[in-house]
C-alpha cells in the first residue's frame, strides 16, 4: 500500500482548519478513499467553499496532492494518481442552495446525491436529464467532474448544455465562479465548461447551477431485436432521421444484452442485437412513438418489437443507464472504452468488436448511446472466463495476468483503430480498467495537437499541480 504522507505538522494544520472530527487519519477511514491502491494520509470533510479554499491553499503552500470526491462511485476513472495526500470529501456539502421551479433553475452543492435531487425536483414536476450509473451513490459533483454518461443525452444534450454556471476553488485556493444562474448568459469566459469531465484536475467544484426540465407526463420503453448489427444500426438511423424525438436510443450487442439481462424478459435470441428506445411526453406523443417505431422496426425487419411500461420499462432504463457498472460487476477486470461515435464509425465498431475480442481471447460487450446519430459508444472487454477456468494455475480474483494485459492492450488499440477507419480519428479514452493496466497504457491515447492548450489551462488553474495530479490526459 502506497500512502500519501502529509507530515504531522501538516495534519495538525488540516485539523486546525476543520477540527479533528472532520479530519480522518485512521487507516480504517482512509481505506474508503483509496484510488488505484493508493491511500491518502488524511481525509477532510469541509462544509463550505471557504473551508475548501482554506484546505487547497494549505495544500498549495505545502505541495500536498488533493483529490476531491463525494459519492466515490467513479474514483476508478482516470489515471493512477501521481501523488495522493489528502482526500477532499465533499459529501457534507450536500445542500440544494436554491431552487426556483417557476424559472426552472437550480443551484446545488457538489455533494448532493442525484437520486435525492431528482426526488426533490419530482415534487415540482421537474427533473434533471442526468441519469447516470451508480445512481444510488452518484453525486452532482462526481457526475459533472467525470462528465458521466446519461442515456438522455440523445435528446437533452450533456452537462455542458444544461449547466448554467459553477462556483469552484482553483488549485491556488481562490474562490471563483463563471456563468450564472439564468438560462441565457454570455457574460465572461465560460470557465465552468472546462471543469466538466476534468476529473478534478483544474478546480474543486463547490456549486453548480442547472436548468431543470419539466417531467414528461408519460414514459414508455420500446425494444427491437435484430439478427445483425447492420440491421439494428439501420433501424437506429431511420429513427434518428425521422420526426420522432426519443429521449434515449441505445443499441446493445449480444454481449451487452447478455450481461444486462436485456431480452430475457421476452426470451429473445441469444445472439440478437437489441435497440432500446425511451419515449417521453404526453400520451399522444408517446402513442405516436409507439406507432412510428413499430412501423420502422417492421421496415428494418426486426425479429421482435415490444413496448414496455411500469417495472419492465424501469428495468430497461436502469440497464442502459448502469451499463458500465453492470460490466464491472460482471468482471472486476472489465476494461471499458468510451468512444465518441459518428454513425459511420459506429457501424465499423459494431462490425469489428466481436472479431477483435475473439482474436485476443476476450469477451466483449458493446453499447452505443444516441445510436444512429453522433453518440457515445461503450466497449467493455474482459478476459474470457472459460480460458481462466481451464488454466491450471488460476490467477487470484482481481489480478490481471501479463498475458491478459497484453491482450487487452492490443484489443484497445484495435478498437480505436477500427472506429477511426471511416469517420476520421476515433475520439475516445479508456474510462475504466484495472490499475495494473493503467500503468502500462495511456488511457487517452496519444496526445493530440490541442494538448499544449490543455497544459496552459492546467497551469492557470493549478500551477502547483496539487489537484488530482496525474489523473487526466497526458498526466495532467
Amino acid at each position: 500500500m502506497k500512502q500519501g504522507l502529509p507530515s504531522d505538522t501538516q495534519i495538525a494544520r488540516l485539523e486546525q482548519t476543520l477540527g479533528a472530527t472532520r479530519t480522518a487519519t485512521d487507516p480504517t477511514s482512509l481505506a474508503a478513499f483509496e484510488i488505484d491502491g493508493m491511500r491518502p494520509g488524511a481525509a477532510v470533510r469541509p462544509a463550505n467553499a471557504d473551508e475548501v479554499a482554506e484546505i487547497v491553499r494549505l495544500a498549495a503552500a505545502e505541495r500536498l496532492a488533493v483529490i476531491p470526491c463525494s459519492g466515490r462511485s467513479k474514483l476508478a476513472i482516470g489515471g493512477v494518481p501521481a501523488r495522493y495526500d489528502v482526500a477532499l470529501d465533499l459529501s457534507a456539502m450536500n445542500r440544494v442552495v436554491s431552487y426556483d421551479p417557476g424559472d426552472l433553475t437550480l443551484s446545488v452543492e457538489p455533494g448532493v446525491r442525484l437520486e435525492d435531487l431528482q426526488r426533490e425536483l419530482g415534487q415540482h414536476g421537474q427533473f434533471l436529464p442526468l441519469e447516470v450509473a451508480f445512481s444510488e451513490r452518484a453525486t452532482v459533483g462526481g457526475a459533472i467532474a467525470t462528465n458521466a454518461y446519461s442515456p438522455l443525452r440523445a435528446h437533452f444534450g450533456s452537462a455542458r448544455d444544461f449547466v448554467l454556471g459553477m462556483e469552484f476553488v482553483t488549485g491556488l485556493g481562490e474562490i471563483a465562479k463563471s456563468g450564472g444562474r439564468v438560462v441565457k448568459n454570455v457574460t465572461g469566459y465560460d470557465l465552468h465548461k472546462l471543469l466538466i469531465g476534468s476529473l478534478g484536475t483544474l478546480a474543486v467544484i463547490t456549486g453548480v447551477h442547472f436548468r431543470t426540465f419539466p417531467r414528461p407526463a408519460e414514459r414508455r420503453v420500446f425494444t427491437a431485436e435484430f439478427g445483425a448489427a447492420g440491421a439494428a444500426l439501420e433501424f437506429c438511423r431511420a429513427v434518428a432521421a425521422s420526426a420522432l424525438e426519443p429521449s434515449a436510443i441505445e443499441m446493445f450487442d449480444p454481449g451487452a444484452a447478455d450481461i444486462s439481462g436485456i431480452g430475457t424478459e421476452s426470451g429473445g435470441g441469444a445472439r440478437a442485437w437489441r435497440v432500446v428506445i425511451a419515449a417521453a411526453g404526453s400520451a399522444a406523443v408517446v402513442e405516436r412513438h409507439a406507432r412510428g417505431l413499430e412501423r420502422m422496426a417492421g421496415e428494418a425487419q426486426a425479429a421482435r418489437f415490444e413496448a414496455w411500461a411500469g417495472a419492465d420499462a424501469a428495468k430497461l432504463l436502469r440497464a442502459i443507464r448502469e451499463f458500465v457498472r453492470i460490466a464491472r460487476e460482471h468482471s472486476a477486470e472489465a476494461t471499458i472504452l468510451r468512444i465518441a461515435l459518428l454513425p459511420a464509425s459506429a457501424a465499423a465498431l459494431a462490425e469489428r468488436v466481436a472479431a477483435i475480442s475473439d482474436a485476443h481471447n476476450l469477451d466483449a460487450a458493446l453499447a452505443i448511446g444516441a445510436a444512429g446519430s453522433a453518440g457515445t459508444g461503450y466497449v467493455a472487454l474482459w478476459p474470457r472466463m472459460v480460458k481462466r477456468a481451464e488454466a491450471s494455475s488460476a490467477p487470484t480474483a482481481g489480478a490481471t495476468t501479463d498475458d491478459e494485459m497484453a491482450s487487452l492492450t492490443a484489443a484497445i488499440r484495435e478498437v480505436f483503430e477500427c472506429a477511426s477507419s471511416d469517420a476520421g480519428p476515433a475520439r475516445g479514452f479508456v474510462e475504466w480498467c484495472p490499475t495494473a493496466l493503467k500503468r502500462r497504457i495511456s488511457l487517452w491515447g496519444e496526445a493530440r495537437e490541442d494538448f499544449v492548450l490543455m497544459q496552459r489551462v492546467k497551469r492557470i488553474f493549478d500551477p502547483h499541480g496539487v489537484l488530482a495530479p496525474g489523473r487526466y490526459c497526458g498526466g495532467l
Binding site: G102, D103, G125, S158, G180, V182, V186, G188, D450
Partner: protein, 478 residues
C-alpha cells in the same frame, strides 16, 4: 501605422486585400453598437495560413489585431478599441463539408448564418441559432459572441451547436484543432471556452456546427394584451407549467406600432403588448402545446390569441419581429439596444422598473425581447446631437442593468460584454473571478494584442495593452 507593416501585409495578401486609406477605413469603424473605433488598416485573409501569418506580423510589429465578420455585433466586439489591424473574414465564406448523416457542417468563419441553413435545408436540416441579423451576420461572429436568437429558448445558443473549431493562436500563429464532429469533447472542453470568448483568445478559422432536423410541425401564435403585466404574467405561467415553446417573444405596444407602420404584418396597433410564440416538433405535441399556451394566455388576460394559418402568416409575424430594429431606426436618430437577463419569474416587476427608469430619465424605452428565457432588450431612443444626452442614456442603461443583476440575472444574454459592459463586469464578478479570467486570457493571448480592452475592466493588471481609445464614442460606460 508603420508603413513597413502595411507593405508586409500587402506582400502577404496582395494589394487588393489590404485597406489603409482613411476613406476606406471609415467603413470599419462601426458595428451594430453605439460604439466606434477606427482601425489603422483592414485586411482580408483568404485562408487559415493567411490568418496565421497576419497573427505573426501583429506580434512582430506589436500591433493590435481584431477579427470581424459582418460587423453586426452589438457590444463593439469587432471594433479595434486600441487601433491596429482589423481582419475581415469576407473572403473565407466556403462551406467545406456537409455531413448529413452525422448532422454536421464544416464551414469557414465568413459564412453567413442563414446560408448554412440554406445549404442544408434540402436535407431536412437547419442551423438552429437564429440571431435577428441572421441574414447578414457570420458564423465566425456568432462563435465569438456565442450568439443567440429567438429560437434559442428551446434549442440553446451557439455554444450548444458548435462541436469543433480550428483556431489560430496569437503570437506564433500556431494552428490548432479543438473538438471535432463528435458530440463530446475528449480532454478539457476548449471549444466550450472558445465559443463566446469574443475573439480575445484566438482567431477562429473553421467551425464544425451541429445541424438540427427541421421539425415536422410548426405553429406561431400571437397573443394580444391590453396590459403589459398580463403579458409578462403569461410568460411566467407558461414557464411555470413547463411548456417549452421554441420561441416566446414579447413586443410592447409602442414598439409594435412602430414595427407595424414599417412592416405591415397585421399587428394590432391599439394594444399594450403582444407575445409572439412558436411551438415546434411532432404534430401531436405542437397541437397540445398550442392549445395549452392559448389557454394560459387567455386566462391571464389576453384579449385575443391568433394562430398563424399558414407559412405566409407565420413569416409575416416573424418579419415584424426580425425587422423591428430597422423600423425603430426610422423614428429616432439613434437608439441603444440593451441586453440583460433576469430569472423569468421576475419579468413583471422588471418591466415595471424599466418603465419607471424611462419615465425618470425622460427617454422613450421600447421593449422587444426574448421573454421566454428572460433575455431583455430595452431599446433607448436618443439623439446623439444633443450634448450630454448620450451620457444620460448610459446612466439609464446602467440603472436597468443593475436591476437585472439585483434580480439574480446577468449582464448580457447574447450580445456579449465587448467594450460596452467591460467596466460593469464587477457587478457580477468578484476581483478573484476577474483575475482568473484575466489569467486565462493571458494564457492564450499573452501579449494582449488580440482584441484588446474587451470583456474585462481596464485599469487592472491583466497583461493588457494599454492604449487610449481613439474615438469619443468608445467612452461607454463612463
Amino acid at each position: 501605422m508603420n508603413p513597413k507593416l502595411i507593405r508586409e501585409l500587402q506582400n502577404l495578401l496582395g494589394r487588393d486585400a489590404v485597406l489603409s486609406a482613411r476613406e476606406d477605413l471609415l467603413l470599419y469603424e462601426y458595428d451594430g453598437s453605439v460604439e466606434s473605433a477606427r482601425p489603422d488598416c483592414v485586411v482580408f485573409p483568404s485562408s487559415t495560413r493567411d490568418v496565421s501569418e497576419i497573427m505573426r506580423l501583429a506580434k512582430r510589429f506589436e500591433t493590435p489585431l481584431v477579427g470581424r465578420g459582418a460587423g453586426t455585433g452589438l457590444s463593439g466586439g469587432a471594433l479595434p478599441r486600441a487601433g491596429g489591424i482589423v481582419a475581415v473574414f469576407a473572403r473565407m465564406t466556403r462551406i467545406l463539408e456537409i455531413d448529413a448523416e452525422s448532422r454536421r457542417a464544416v464551414v469557414q468563419p465568413g459564412v453567413v448564418n442563414l446560408d448554412i441553413t440554406r445549404a442544408v435545408e434540402h436535407l431536412g436540416l437547419y442551423f438552429a441559432p437564429d440571431p435577428s441579423s441572421q441574414k447578414s451576420c457570420t458564423i465566425g461572429g456568432n462563435v465569438s459572441e456565442n450568439a443567440g436568437g429567438p429560437h434559442t429558448l428551446a434549442y440553446g445558443v451557439t455554444t450548444n451547436h458548435v462541436t469543433g473549431l480550428e483556431i489560430v493562436l496569437p503570437g506564433d500563429g500556431r494552428v490548432v484543432r479543438i473538438g471535432g464532429k463528435a458530440a463530446e469533447p475528449l480532454g478539457y472542453d476548449l471549444a466550450g471556452l472558445m465559443v463566446g470568448s469574443e475573439g480575445t483568445l484566438a482567431m477562429v478559422t473553421e467551425i464544425t456546427v451541429r445541424l438540427s432536423r427541421t421539425p415536422e410541425a410548426v405553429k406561431a401564435l400571437l397573443a394580444v394584451y391590453d396590459a403589459v403585466d398580463d403579458a409578462t404574467e403569461s410568460v411566467v405561467e407558461i414557464t411555470r407549467r413547463g411548456i417549452t415553446p421554441a420561441a416566446c417573444e414579447m413586443l410592447d405596444g409602442w414598439t409594435l406600432r412602430t414595427v407595424e407602420d414599417f412592416v405591415h404584418a397585421g399587428f394590432p396597433r391599439d394594444c399594450a403588448a403582444v407575445l409572439l410564440l412558436e411551438v415546434e416538433g411532432l404534430s401531436e405535441a405542437v397541437a397540445e402545446q398550442a392549445a395549452e399556451i392559448s389557454e394560459v394566455c387567455r386566462a391571464r388576460g389576453a384579449r385575443e390569441v391568433r394562430v398563424a394559418r399558414d407559412a405566409h402568416e407565420r413569416d409575416l409575424l416573424w418579419k415584424g419581429r426580425k425587422n423591428a430594429f430597422g423600423a425603430i431606426g426610422r423614428l429616432s436618430p439613434s437608439y441603444y439596444v440593451l441586453d440583460g437577463v433576469i430569472p423569468r419569474t421576475r419579468l413583471p416587476e422588471t418591466l415595471r422598473r424599466i418603465e419607471e427608469i424611462g419615465r425618470d430619465s425622460g427617454f422613450r424605452i421600447g421593449n422587444i425581447f426574448h421573454a421566454g428565457d428572460g433575455n431583455l432588450h430595452p431599446l433607448i431612443l436618443f439623439d446623439p446631437r444633443h450634448p450630454g444626452e448620450f451620457d444620460r442614456v448610459v446612466a439609464a442603461a446602467r440603472a436597468i442593468i443593475e436591476h437585472c443583476i439585483a434580480m439574480g440575472g446577468a449582464l448580457t444574454g447574447e450580445h456579449g460584454v465587448g467594450m460596452e459592459k467591460n467596466e460593469l463586469m464587477p457587478l457580477m464578478f468578484t476581483p478573484e473571478d476577474l483575475a482568473l479570467m484575466g489569467r486565462v486570457r493571458a494564457a492564450f493571448n499573452p501579449d494582449g494584442l488580440l482584441n484588446p480592452q474587451k470583456i474585462l475592466p481596464l485599469g487592472k493588471g491583466c497583461g493588457e495593452l494599454r492604449v487610449l481609445p481613439q474615438s469619443a464614442g468608445s467612452a461607454l460606460p463612463a
